[in-house]
Symmetry: C2
Subunit: 398 residues, 2 copies
C-alpha cells in the first residue's frame, strides 16, 4: 500500500505543487524583527530603508585647502593674486571638514601660495560650490537607500548608519528543524560500533542552512522508531518554519516519514522523477512544510538545491546564492533516463577553445563527487543524455 | 617635505613592491590551529586531509532488498525461480545497511516475490558485489580528501567527519586592527554634534573582513592627535597581522600615518596612480603590514579590493572571493586620466543583444555609487577612457 505513493512526478510539477500549497498556507509570510544596524550584516531588509537625514547633512570640503567666500575672490588672476587673511577671509580645511557658515567654496592647496603666516595668496577666482560636497550629495533626506528584501552588504550597512538608520527592520531568520534518522547510523563524533556508519548529512544541512541565512536546530540522531520520530516532528512543528527529516523516504521497512506526514497533515509529493533524489517526500502539517530528504549525500544535496534553497528564497523574497553559468563542451557522453532530470557533477577545465566539462563518475552515495565538482549539468527529462562534444550550460558550484 | 612622498606609483608596481616586502618579512607565513571539524565550516585547511578510515568502512546495501550469497542464486531464472529462506539464505536490508559477513550481493525489492512469510523468491541470479557499496567506494583509506589551503564547504566537513577526521588543522584567522581617525568624525551611534559627520567606514571594514575570514579589532574613533594615534598603532603591532588606519593619508594638516609608519618602520608606498584611492600609504613595521586607507568610502573600498583582499588571499593561500566577469557594451563614454587606473562602478542591464554597462555618476565620496553598482570596470592606466559602444570586461560585484 505504501508503495503506491512512490511516484515519478516531474520535477517542475513537484516544485509547483509544493510551493503553491506552501504559498496558500502562508509559509512565505515572513515575519520581521528590528535589530541594531551594526548587527545586520548579511541580513535581509523587511521594508525599504530611507535616509532619515541627508548625507552629508552639512556641506563638507571635498579637497584639502582653504574655505573662502567665492564672491570675495572675484578678479583674482595669476598676474593679479589676491591676498586673503586667515580666520577672516578663509579657514584652513582638510577633505571632509564641514564648511562653516558664510564660506561657500574651497580652493585646493595646489592652487595657493602662503607668502607669510596668516595669509594665503589665491591666483584664480573661485566659484560658489567649488570643491564643496553639497548637502545630500550621497543621499538626499528621504531618499530610498535600499529596497525591501535586500541583503545587507557592508556598504549598505555603512549607508544606513550614515543616514541615521541605527536600527533596521529585517526578515526574521527562518528556523529549520533537522532530524537525522537511521538505525544503521551513529554520530561521527562517537566510536563507530560494528555494523554502523557515521552520520554525516547533518554537516551538509548545517553548512548550507547557515550559508543561506537560516537558523538550523539539529535534533540528535534517532533510530528507526516510529513513535519517537513522530513525537520529535510533532513537538517541533510550532517552533519551526521548515522541517527536514533525513532519511526514511524510500520503500524500505523503516520509511516512516510519509506515514507521519499523512497522520499529521497532508502528503503533497512522494517521488520526483529526478536523479539523485528520487524518493523525496514533500508535505505540509499544521501550516509547516516538511521534507523527507533521501539519505544519499548527493541526493540530500540535490534536495537542498532544488527545494530548500528555493523555499528560503521565497521566504526571504530575494536570491540567496548566485547562479552563474558557463557554456562548456562535454568531454564525454552523459546518459540520462528519458523522463528523469539528471544532476551531473562535472569538473571544468579551461582551455584555449573554452570550457571543457568532464562528467564525474561518482554515484549518489559519494561525497567525493560533490567535493571534486566545479559545476553542475542538469539534463532535462525530455533528453536521454548529452552527446560527447555537445555544448552544454554548466552552473558553477565554486 | 612631507609632500614629496605623495607620488603616483603605478598600481601593479605598488602591489608588487608591498607584497614582496611582506613576503620577505614573513607576513604570509600563516600559522595554524587545530579545531573540531564540526566548527571548521568556511575555515581554510592548513594541511591536506586524508581518510583515516575508508568510506564506507564496511560494505553497505546500495538498494532496499535482501542480502544474499551470489553463488547460491546461480541458475535462478524467471521460469525457474529460487526460493530463499529468511535469516538463513538471506537477510532483509534497507539502503545503507551494512552487509553481514557471508553475504555479498543485494537483490532489490522490485525483483523479488514474497510467496509466504519467511521466504523470498528470486528470479534472476545475482552477481558478487551486485547493489553493494564496496569498502572505500567514496574514499579509500589514506586517500586525500582535501588539499591544503582549501576552504571547507559543507560537503568537505561531511567527508572529513565520515572519514574519521574529527579535528582539522586550519589556518589561524588573521587579526586585523582597524583604527578610524578624524577630528571631524563621530560614532554614528552617538548624537551628531554641529560640524561633525558620522564615521561609517568602520562598517565597510567590518563587513568585508568578516566576509574574507579575517578577525577585525575595531579601535574606537580617535581625533587627529599624533601621540594618541601613534600609541594606538604601536601597541597593536604585536597582536595583529594587518593594521588599517583610516584616514590620514593625504597632504592635509593632519596626515600622520606616513610619519608614524616612518618612525615605527618602513614607508613602502605613498601615492598610487589609481582613482579613487590615490593617497594610499603602504608600510611595514616590526614585521607587520600597515595600510593608511584614504577616507572616501569608494577609495576605502578600492583599497580593500586591491590590497586587503590580495593580502588575505596570500596569507591564506587560496581565493576568498569569486571574480566572475562578463563582457558588456558600454552605454556611454568613460573618461579616465592617462597614467591612472580608474575604477568605474557600473549598473548592468541584460538585453537581447547581451549585457549593457551603464557607468554610475557617483564620486569617490558616495556610498550610493557602490550600493547601486552591479559591476566594476577597471580602465587601465595606458587608456584615456573607453568609448561609447565599446565591449569591456566588467567584474560582477553582486
Amino acid at each position: 500500500m505504501k508503495r503506491a505513493y512512490l511516484e515519478k512526478m516531474p520535477l517542475a510539477q513537484a516544485q509547483a505543487r509544493w510551493f503553491s500549497a506552501l504559498e496558500q498556507a502562508g509559509c512565505f509570510d515572513a515575519r520581521s524583527e528590528t535589530i541594531p544596524t551594526a548587527e545586520a550584516f548579511e541580513r535581509i531588509t523587511a521594508v525599504a530603508v530611507h535616509a532619515l537625514r541627508p548625507v552629508p547633512h552639512v556641506r563638507a570640503a571635498a579637497m584639502d585647502g582653504i574655505a573662502v567666500r567665492a564672491d570675495q575672490t572675484a578678479g583674482a588672476r595669476l598676474d593679479q593674486p589676491l591676498v586673503l587673511r586667515k580666520d577672516v577671509d578663509f579657514v584652513q580645511v582638510d577633505t571632509g571638514d564641514p564648511i562653516s557658515q558664510g564660506f561657500d567654496a574651497v580652493i585646493m592647496l595646489e592652487d595657493l601660495d602662503f607668502p607669510s603666516p596668516g595669509t594665503a595668496e589665491c591666483r584664480k577666482a573661485a566659484f560658489p560650490g567649488q570643491n564643496v560636497r553639497p548637502v545630500g550629495e550621497d543621499f538626499p533626506k528621504g531618499q530610498t537607500i535600499l529596497p525591501a528584501r535586500t541583503r545587507l552588504s557592508p556598504e549598505a550597512i555603512a549607508a544606513c548608519l550614515g543616514s541615521g538608520n541605527l536600527a533596521l527592520e529585517v526578515i526574521r531568520r527562518p528556523k529549520v528543524f533537522v532530524l537525522p534518522t537511521g538505525a544503521e547510523l551513529v554520530s561521527p563524533l562517537e566510536p563507530i560500533p560494528a555494523g554502523k556508519y557515521p552520520e554525516t548529512n547533518t554537516a551538509l544541512f548545517a553548512g548550507y542552512l547557515k550559508r543561506w541565512q537560516a537558523l538550523p536546530t539539529m535534533h540528535p540522531l534517532l533510530e528507526d522508531d516510529y513513535a519517537q520520530i513522530r513525537r520529535a516532528i510533532e513537538s517541533s512543528l510550532q517552533e519551526h518554519d521548515l522541517l527536514l527529516v533525513n532519511a526514511g523516504t524510500s520503500k524500505g521497512r523503516e520509511d516512516f516519514t510519509t506515514s507521519i506526514i499523512e497522520e499529521l497533515g497532508q502528503l503533497i509529493v512522494h517521488g520526483v522523477s529526478m536523479h539523485p533524489g528520487h524518493p523525496l517526500v514533500l508535505g505540509l502539517a499544521q501550516g509547516k512544510p516538511i521534507v523527507g530528504v533521501p539519505g544519499y549525500p548527493v541526493a540530500t544535496w540535490v534536495v537542498l538545491d532544488q527545494f530548500v534553497l528555493p523555499f528560503l528564497e521565497r521566504y526571504y523574497g530575494c536570491a540567496l546564492q548566485p547562479r552563474t553559468t558557463v557554456v562548456a563542451r562535454l568531454a564525454r557522453r552523459v546518459h540520462s533516463p528519458l523522463g528523469e532530470v539528471e544532476f551531473v557533477r562535472v569538473r571544468l577545465e579551461q582551455t584555449e577553445e573554452g570550457w571543457i566539462a568532464h562528467p564525474l563518475a561518482g554515484k549518489a552515495s559519494t561525497l567525493s563527487s560533490l567535493i571534486h565538482a566545479d559545476g553542475l549539468l542538469v539534463v532535462p527529462e525530455e533528453l536521454g543524455g548529452c552527446a560527447q562534444g555537445e555544448l552544454v550550460e554548466v552552473r558553477l558550484l565554486k
